[in-house]
């Protein structure tokens, strides 16, 4: 074998294995079935996208290198230092590139965590980045139903197994609660729901889309069926919405929430007429969506309380305090709670 090939193989081997600070190495299997070799201690974690930033913030905020997008001042109020003051590092290759691989290498992380789709594209991207930079890259399944398992896996990977288990237990309990309440509510009393996105409220998610899966999980019936293949963002017309006559509208857009009663034509929609338009809280991250990550767990409880006020028996204030303390490490005072939930009042 000639010299340059030997050198190339040495480089490849070295890049993958010989990390200077490794005392020992361990091999884990990520959600995509990839076997990844990691250092024993993870001190610096790079997050590949917004859902991963939520995941790593809740599990190992001290190990985070930076945020995908810098939190706004309003969002920072609901995050703890020192993590909340970390710099912005950008999105990684393949997800709408904003970051250069060189910057990744310069940041010297022990690990890159990606939380979301584990389809082939992302597997091959993970392999590419790993090969090119020599930095281990793990993919964690971000589907909502897999949340408890993903939390446990991520906890093990990051060396925070106990914390991962704690959060996973909470997720398990929440799902169990949701299922129990659903069982108690007869099919007839489950609301037909429309998710209104965007300032005009005409953008929505079809059945099975990642934006609305949490709504469907609690038993809400997504009126927006048949809008596109596997259920994706789509545009609806007001006429269509009136035809659907949803019982409840959930929106993420404050401007829409404020203005919906005065928008011409919307008073014909039952949910608007009956003051059942709810604005999802969104600090530090959206409760329904944006990003589609762990932040949705509290959203589940909120939806239960909103859709089934009597059957669910949920004390939203207490639950919110508990969630924020457990997941985000933030103790909410009354003023903050009101600000958070106040906007969610029905209109």
């Amino acid at each position: 074998m000639n010299t340059s090939r030997r050198a190339a193989l040495a480089l490849l081997g070295a890049g993958l294995l010989a990390r200077p600070s490794w005392a020992q190495a361990r091999t884990i299997t990520d959600s995509a079935g990839r076997k990844v070799v990691l250092p024993d201690r993870i001190n610096r974690v790079f997050v590949a996208g917004p859902p991963a930033s939520v995941l790593v913030y809740t599990l190992a905020p001290d190990a985070m290198v930076g945020w995908v997008r810098l939190p706004t001042a309003a969002e920072k109020e609901f995050l703890v230092a020192p993590a909340r003051d970390l710099p912005e590092t950008g999105r990684l290759t393949g997800r709408g590139d904003t970051m250069s691989l060189e910057r990744l290498v310069a940041a010297k992380p022990d690990l890159v965590v990606d939380f979301g789709s584990v389809a082939d594209t992302y597997v091959s991207l993970a392999n590419r980045v790993q090969e090119q930079t020599g930095i281990p890259y793990v993919l964690i399944d971000g589907t909502f139903a897999a949340t408890p398992a993903s939390l446990r896996l991520a906890g093990d990977i990051l060396g925070r197994s106990a914390r991962g288990a704690e959060l996973a237990d909470y997720a398990d309990k929440t799902f169990a609660n949701v299922d129990a309440v659903r069982a108690r509510v007869p099919a007839g009393k489950r609301p037909r729901v429309y998710l209104a996105r965007g300032p005009e409220g005409l953008e929505t998610g079809g059945r099975g889309s990642i934006n609305t899966e949490i709504i469907e999980r609690v038993g809400g019936v997504n009126v927006a069926e048949g809008l596109g293949g596997r259920g994706n963002t789509a545009n609806a017309s007001l006429e269509q919405i009136i035809a659907w006559q949803p019982d409840v509208i959930v929106t993420l857009d404050r401007a829409f929430h404020q203005a919906v009663k005065s928008k011409p034509g919307w008073d014909q929609v039952r949910a608007v007429a009956e003051n059942k338009v709810f604005l999802a809280p969104s600090l530090p991250w959206g409760w329904i969506d944006a990003p589609p990550s762990l932040n949705r767990l509290i959203g589940l409880r909120w939806l239960l309380a909103t859709f089934y006020p009597t059957e669910s028996g949920i004390d939203l204030k207490a639950d919110t305090r508990a969630f924020y303390a457990l997941f985000y490490g933030v103790k909410l005072d009354d003023a903050q709670l009101d600000r958070l939930l106040g906007g969610a009042a029905a209109r």
Binding site: G15, G96, R103, V105, S117, T121, S124, Q132, G228
Partner: protein
């Protein structure tokens, strides 16, 4: 028979010499650009480290570590890709401009970019692995031009050029509609940003294996263009005149379309859609070496390569985030193009 001429008056080498000087100069500039690009990047490397690392590799004593990784796995493959893509797009643009006898033509005229774009975004939609996305883009790019060419031949018109252009517009528009459809169906969190970014053009994920595939394909396409450089130039006189001068027009045209499409499809499949290089660089080359294709081809290829290397260096160092290449080439290319137009028709020399 014409009288013989005093050989001292004949200076074929003078004109050729001037072109050689210009092309030599472009080569030097290109090398400097490559060197500069190797030195610059978000990961801080001093020129000394760069040269030392290259020297070590050359003598076979490569030292693994972050410097080596950044330089040889990330930065240099990217520079190599910029060279190849820039050269390919500029060469294809020069070829099509000569073929269609129109200095305002870009390599996309037969729909290869739209076709490759459709294949690649389809691959993203179907969550295919990266090499499959690139491969699909390449294949659909080639197929699109194949359809255009077959359509044009089937219509059997006297004015083959016109029919080719029209067919290219139609099929390209269809591919564009296909791209829009894919965007609607795509998952808005992961796929849509990836699709959007891809369509804007970027070399950010390039690795060594990409270069190993792109290089032979681009060279494979450039060789026929180089070999037939004289006859391709003669085509610019028009079909009838070219035939009467002894050129097999159909064959040469077929070679140009095939080769130019091959290199463009290869470039687009790996870098996304990067506009303006194929349109503007051949103009600049003509300003330097005149309109003869046998000189424009090497000049444009060198200029395109150097230009994209510089642009890509800006793309990855100017800001904290990656700037899509298509944006930068448009920022540069559009004003230059307007300036060229303003200087009048004679600038199309």
């Amino acid at each position: 028979m014409p009288s013989s001429i005093d050989s001292s008056v004949v200076r074929p080498r003078a004109d050729a010499r001037r072109s050689a000087v210009v092309i030599g100069g472009l080569l030097v500039i290109l090398l400097l650009a490559v060197l500069l690009a190797a030195m610059l990047g978000p990961y801080p490397l001093t020129p000394g480290e760069v040269i030392a690392a290259i020297a070590r590799r050359v003598i076979g004593a490569a030292q693994p570590g972050p410097v080596d990784t950044v330089l040889f796995q990330i930065r240099l493959p990217r520079v190599a890709a910029a060279l190849l893509v820039g050269a390919a797009l500029a060469a294809a643009g020069a070829s099509y401009q000569t073929l269609f006898r129109n200095p305002l033509v870009s390599p996309d005229i037969l729909g290869v970019s739209a076709g490759a774009g459709f294949g690649a975004v389809l691959g993203i939609l179907l969550s295919l692995p990266v090499f499959a996305i690139q491969g699909l883009g390449f294949v659909t790019g080639m197929i699109t031009v194949g359809i255009v060419y077959t359509l044009a031949r089937a219509l059997r018109s006297q004015n083959e050029i016109l029919v080719l252009v029209l067919a290219g517009i139609v099929v390209g528009a269809l591919a564009g509609a296909g791209i829009s459809l894919v965007k609607i169906l795509a998952d808005p969190y992961n796929q849509l940003p990836a699709i959007t970014f891809w369509l804007l053009g970027s070399l950010s994920g390039i690795k060594v294996s990409d270069v190993q595939v792109v290089a032979p394909l681009v060279i494979l396409g450039l060789v026929p263009l180089g070999l037939l450089r004289w006859r391709i130039g003669v085509l610019s006189l028009g079909d009838d005149e070219a035939r009467a001068l002894g050129v097999n027009v159909r064959f040469v045209r077929g070679v140009v379309i095939t080769s130019a499409t091959l290199i463009t499809a290869t470039a687009v499949s790996v870098s996304g859609v990067i506009g303006w290089i194929g349109l503007v660089i051949p103009h600049m080359a003509r300003l330097l070496v005149g309109p003869r294709y046998d000189r424009v081809l090497p000049a444009a290829a060198l200029m395109g390569a150097g230009f994209l290397v510089l642009i890509d260096t800006v793309a990855r160092t100017a800001a904290r985030i990656e700037i899509p290449l298509g944006l930068l080439t448009a920022l540069f290319g559009a004003p230059v193009f307007v300036w060229l137009l303003a200087r009048g028709r004679r600038m199309w020399s």
